[in-house]
Subunit: 394 residues, 2 copies
């Protein structure tokens, strides 16, 4: 009954637990305050009708022996994989290279099983905490977090890294809300190739990109299929955070240094540690990729982008640098010092402290646009009122 | 891009892949043959009406902003955990000790993250292959598989093992279909305690137990809460193999040798490597544990038990020892030699070769009762015809 030593290496103040405690303390002090959460990136808007119809149709099928099905194909429903290949990869990636899962987060941890026990890992700083925590729990000891800050265009100086096996890279980025440019991703691919490293590219927010010059997938970069795995998700695009549906791409061209296929091993890992995404969720994914579903997905992502535009408008008069928000519904605001507690107590607004995403996030707050329009508008009113009060006060 | 060395340790002829190949070869040879599968344990019968209603109701809720929800509580829906505590554990286990997941298989791999990097692992032989494969891929090197055969009542001689950290034990057992008795499980718990080891008890088939003297959970044994984790599943009970819903139990009384809580670490592992079972599936689980749902679950499990009773009737006249089938819809038949190919070619019936579950399964075949009644009856007709033909031939 020995404990996995790696637990001791985890940061004890796990971001969201810490926030919960601070909020509980505030609520105890001010029980009547109406808190607005611009914190955790959970969706607030209902599942659109044609996608919901796809979910219900599957249940209708599961109620009749003739159309009932149990375990699906181990890589996931073929129709869904074909639609993903077409919709997200213009068929540059084939259905055989796509693996349906219950979400990008779950794939992030499992993927480490592919590589050597002691992989050298490079992360962005700030970063989605799961890349770090899963690496630590898997026993990885050589982990570097490279600063991604306004002054380097949120793109780390990878060139300084001598040896690396795995690079986690998220674009559009959580927490900064900034998408990498094509030039930056070319540099990333070229760096990975020069070090014989694998990129794990997290494109969970790619559906929010509107600027056609920004890549939505790492495979838009030439040669990426030889050095990159992509993880992605329906969660934020169609209100599926609770329904659970994502996918990974492991190209057949991706080989280990010994020439063996990474794809074959990933099939084995998925068959051993996973048993398929819910067939109901998969039917919803198929519905989301019909013309009607795609339009609904666009409407839903537009809604959250408009939320974040409104928030930006309310924060701008404060005069602090604001990043992100155009390719993902997160704003990353540089206050130069910790302001979580102040937003909680003065505006009754919950944000996410940047330091929760790594040391380079210190002094930043993340504002999420995933709330309801009513909440966002109320938040903007509170922020604007305060600003005009401050201005008139001077 | 180094490959995880542990892949090389996996058995290359992964059971189901091997079966697929043999079947493909047979089909190419006899394209008109109507094959009946009594092989992989997938369910064939539709989801019962009141459970399906629960699934659909959740989608209705997800379509309206006021009742929409995204990420659920990280341990899973509280109502579901309370119902599981009551229905399966008579509240001897509390809702706080239950973690909802997407299935027992997925928990089996994740659970190893709790324990020291080099855990000494004991399995039954034969065994569900996932215990072994996940252990190998996680880098475990000290794995013993103890024979569980008719002559030891399918209960290994644990006493011979000096040092062990983790014991995987499945009852009712896959592949043998045999449930451990209360005396055997008392011995198992006492053995685990004497070695300060943890039992990972897989009760995915407990819903098929009809004999009231047989334990349905390890926690029916006194003291088990101090040395056992249980994994279980709705898959086979309500036709959820494709819908995906299971749970694990990590009692608060379970401590590492250093006195720290295993439960706290499991919360952390689940929050890092998992993101919740589908909320739709969870609503189905709640519906399955209403009085109406429980009745439907009983009807469905009775159906498969009747299937396996019919199969037994057809196999008995062949004169080979038949085990299992009363507490799980699997028959484990001791032919004394490999008969997979013969059943395929002579009866056009697919079975699972016992050797796929470990060396001690050599000479056995597993027959699954999860097919439709029509298929089971057709299989029994083919088997009986053959037997009477053989008899008249003598």
């Amino acid at each position: 009954m020995r404990r996995n030593d790696n637990f001791a290496r985890l940061n004890k103040n796990y971001l969201f637990t810490e926030i919960e405690k601070r909020v509980a303390a505030f609520k105890a002090k001010e029980p009547s305050a109406k808190l607005i959460s611009l914190s955790v990136g959970d969706t607030s808007q209902s599942i659109p009708p044609s996608i919901a119809k796809g979910l219900v149709q599957k249940i209708t099928d599961l109620q009749v022996n003739e159309t009932y099905s149990g375990y699906g194909p181990s890589q996931g429903d073929r129709a869904l994989r074909e639609k993903i290949a077409e919709a997200f990869y213009e068929n540059k990636i084939s259905a055989d290279e796509i693996f349906i899962s219950d979400g990008a987060k779950c794939d992030i941890g499992r993927l480490q099983l592919l590589f050597g026990e002691k992989s050298k890992i490079v992360l962005q700083n700030p970063t989605y905490p799961v890349y770090l925590d899963s690496s630590l729990l898997m026993g990885q000891t050589e982990i570097s977090a490279l600063p991604a800050l306004p002054d380097n265009g949120f793109f780390p100086e990878f060139g300084k890294v001598k040896e690396v096996d795995l690079i986690y890279f998220c674009s559009p980025n959580n927490p900064t809300g900034v998408a990498a440019t094509k030039e930056q991703l070319k540099e990333l691919v070229s760096f990975a190739k020069s070090r014989c490293a694998v990129i794990i590219f997290d494109s969970a927010y790619a559906g929010f990109i509107r600027d056609p010059s920004l890549p939505r997938s790492i495979y838009e970069i030439e040669g990426a299929e030889e050095c990159a795995i992509e993880v992605s998700s329906f969660s934020k695009l169609i209100g599926f955070t609770g329904v659970r549906l994502g996918w990974s791409v492991v190209p057949k061209a991706l080989k280990y240094e010994n020439g063996l296929s990474v794809h074959d091993d990933w099939q084995r890992v998925m068959a051993t540690f996973f048993n398929g995404a819910s067939n109901i969720a998969q039917a919803g994914g198929v519905a989301a990729l019909t013309p009607e579903g795609v339009e609904e997905m666009r409407g839903l992502t537009d809604y959250y982008l408009e939320n974040v535009r409104l928030l930006r408008g309310a924060l701008q008069p404060m005069g602090y640098p604001i990043y992100g928000g155009e390719a993902a519904p997160y704003l990353w605001v540089d206050f130069g010092e910790e302001r979580f507690q102040e937003f909680l107590e003065r505006y009754h607004i919950l944000t996410t402290p940047g330091s929760g995403f790594g040391s380079a996030g210190k002094g930043f707050l993340r504002f999420s646009g995933f709330g309801s329009r009513e909440d966002i508008l109320e938040a903007t009113r509170r922020l604007k009122r305060e600003v005009s009060y401050q201005n008139s006060d001077r």
